[in-house]
Amino acid sequence: MDFEDTSEEAAFRAEARAWIQANAPKHLEAELKRAGFASSGIESEDPLAAGKAWQKKKAEAGWACLNWPKEYGGGARSPIERVIWGQEEGIYGALSSPLIIGHGMCGPTVMAWASEDHKRRLLPPLASGEEIWCQLFSEPAGGSDLAGLRTSAVKAEDGSGDWIINGQKIWTSGAQYSQWGLLITRTNPDAPKHKGLTMFFLSMSTPGIEVRPIKQANGQSGFNEVYFTDVRIPDDQRLGAVGQGWEVSLTTLMNERLSIGSGMSTGFPELFEFCLEAEVDGRPAVDDSAVRSRLAQFAVKQSGLKYTGMRAITALSKGETPGPENSIGKLVAGATMQELAMFALDLQGQAGVVQDESSPMNARFQQILMRSPATRIEGGSDEILRNIIGERVLGLPGDIRVDKDVPFRDIPTSGRK
């Protein structure tokens, strides 16, 4: 038991640190450090341009998509080296947030299912940040129940083999600036729901696509609706066989949940700092026994996530696959940050309602309060994650389902019984 690098890991860390030291956009450091929640927080320049510039620099020096093969624009490094890179990149990693979906989910799916020609065409510009990808999965009728999706792909009647897409996607992060999309569609409504799906990729500039931003509950607009009206795409943009879309999507979703060394922030360090400053009955809040009890609860969750992440890194370091304990990260972090934000506002008293420059810690807790409901839903809701833990980790049986082995078109939906 130790927290030391092996000599190879230490050498890699030193190399990464030196390169970052010499090349990181230092002029953005201060902004990144006081960044708001869930964004790079860059205001002095366009955050997308800043992210792309940093990614390009990394790609040119071989630091982009470290675990991908070199021929696809990656660094051919081990999983543990990717983790070390992330630790060294630190706050600058937030610059790449517009690229995460492409690198973490779309890229691995393309790598697993696309033709060699397509991989060589699509992956290098994705790795270097020149082209951005979005994931066109969720729909108004299919979120947690993704396989309930209704966007249709129908063979064109002209015999070209092309597909004609009609329907609507929702909660698509980054659709407004993406060049490519990974799109799951229904190709056979007569088959049971999981068996009638097919996956494609397409250029977001294909005629018939319309992107509309969604104004979120916290006032920001990170997500979009994407409408497809008679969008035509060639058959060679299909990933996997017709009807194999569900299987292909699992590649994407598994990658989505495989965020190694998670250590997802809960906001605890900021809360602790705040409790050293804030007062309760004329004394520092941290001296109040009720405050201490709550703080301790948050502390052990934060610490538990951190060391759970380190156990996963340990497995990687030994060349093993991290165990299922890794699936708890977002479930714990999401709920914890929400409770923590409410507690921080409670300590601020009636002034906690204000969210402006006078609010403690740059209004960070107000931001967390207003953003955390989404964390508990996106990328697998708390309830879906509990099902996954229950069924895949603990081996409990699935729910009894009324939509299994029924032709999709016969399944009741909201407003149609």
Binding site: M1, D2, F3, E4, D5, E9, I80, F272, L276, V286, S289, R292, S293, L295, A296, Q297, A299, V300, K301, S303, G304, L305, K306, Y307, T308, M310, R311, I313, T314, A315, S317, K318, E325, I328, L331, V332, E383, L385, R386, N387, I389, G390, E391, V393, L394, G395, L396, P397, G398, D399, I400
Partner: protein, 377 residues
């Protein structure tokens, strides 16, 4: 980066688990609960022969001379099996006190006997209700004689040796407290077994009336030594709690797979499934925090006080959470004497108080994080 036990250590853990599965049957665990012996003597002797008791005690004092990492894993197994043996009192506490503060002669006199199981030790600390403070200690030593009462003392009814925190000398506050070795089979020491929520690990009231007492550690250093040793014991206790939490979760899982209601396995209902998932989350966070504690214990890190409180708070909650929901998943059968659910429920609530209650450790954790924060700044 290596936050895991070695293959050799895991092999030892397997060996202990196999031994306990065979020897520490539900009948053995229940013996104390159903009027039998206050602890499982044969099991304790067997653990001593396997080297479990002396695993972290140096060979020079009759131990095996491995590390506290092995002891952490042994603790996990003892917790998992609900072993009705005084390992916590005798090894995590008494032996650890001797190792940390004993003179050569004291170590030589007692450690081999504790390691062999021939003698049982305990820590006699608490006097009455509420969080312990130096002011609450009335027991006092004058001219080498101890007078006063300690209650509750874990395993006090079966112990041969007590390490007693008592007033002595001219110091004030914490500095008024020193530690003493007292032979409980000697003159001036009386004991009675107390009725408790968990008779599988007994509690006693000890009354001293001029019992010969030999000081352990410096005069006025008792409180500080006790804090250090209780931190170390807290990490070991946390491993027991995680072992118990895991087993309670497994029992609940197995029952949810087995039990049919409304024409289906109850584990297919999300109300049950999500309860089990949350138990898994608690147990996993606690295990990870315990590994942090194990690292701090074995490496002698300055983070040990923070790591101990972290592991302790996390593991206390995980065991209580898993044990109470294990009963819930079992429904009415979980509340019968015949099912073992109540054994875990009893132990989880008893261990939650041993070494100081949850609120005490929460308070210590934040106090220590604050100290670490001040130092860093």
């Amino acid at each position: 980066m290596n936050l895991d036990f070695s293959d050799d250590q895991k092999q030892l853990q397997d060996q202990i688990r196999r031994y306990l599965t065979e020897k520490c049957t539900p009948a053995v665990v229940r013996s104390g609960l159903e009027g039998g012996e206050p602890f499982a003597r044969d099991l304790y002797r067997g653990l001593a022969e396997m080297g479990v008791l002396g695993v972290a005690i140096p060979e020079a004092y009759g131990g095996v001379g491995l590390s506290h990492l092995e002891l952490c894993l042994a603790a996990e197994e003892l917790g998992r099996a609900l072993a009705p043996v005084p390992v916590a009192s005798s090894i995590y506490l008494a032996a650890e006190f001797l190792l940390q503060a004993g003179t050569e002669a004291q170590k030589k006199a007692w450690l081999p006997r504790l390691a062999s199981g021939e003698a049982v030790g305990t820590f006699a600390f608490v006097e009455g209700q509420g969080r312990m403070t130096p002011d609450k200690i009335a027991a006092a030593v004058r001219d080498g004689r101890l007078t006063g009462a300690k209650s509750p003392v874990p395993d006090g009814d079966i112990a041969d040796l007590a390490i007693v925190a008592a007033r002595s000398g001219a110091g004030r506050g914490e500095m008024a407290i020193s530690l003493f070795l007292v032979d409980l089979n000697g003159p001036g020491a009386a004991r009675e077994t107390l009725t408790s929520i968990d008779p599988t690990r007994s509690q006693a009231r000890l009354v001293f009336d001029g019992a010969p007492a030999e000081r352990l550690g410096g005069e006025g250093e008792g409180w500080a030594i006790a804090s250090q040793v209780m931190d170390r014991a807290a990490i070991l206790m946390a491993f027991e709690q995680v072992g118990g939490a895991d087993r309670a979760l497994e029992m609940a899982r197995d029952y949810a797979l087995d039990r049919m209601a409304f024409g289906r396995q109850i584990g297919s209902f999300q109300a049950i499934k999500h309860m089990l998932a949350d138990m898994y989350v608690s147990a996993t966070l606690a295990r990870s925090n315990c590994y942090y504690g194990a690292w701090a214990l074995a490496s002698g890190s300055s983070e040990l006080p923070v790591a101990a409180a972290t592991a302790r708070v996390s593991a206390t909650q995980a065991f209580q959470h898993c044990a109470k929901n294990n009963i819930q998943v079992h429904g009415g059968m979980g509340f019968t004497w015949a099912f073992d659910c109540h054994l875990f429920y009893r132990r989880s609530n008893a261990l939650a108080l041993a070494l100081g209650s949850l609120s005490t450790w929460e308070d210590l954790l934040i106090e220590r994080l604050r100290g670490a924060n001040t130092q860093a700044a």
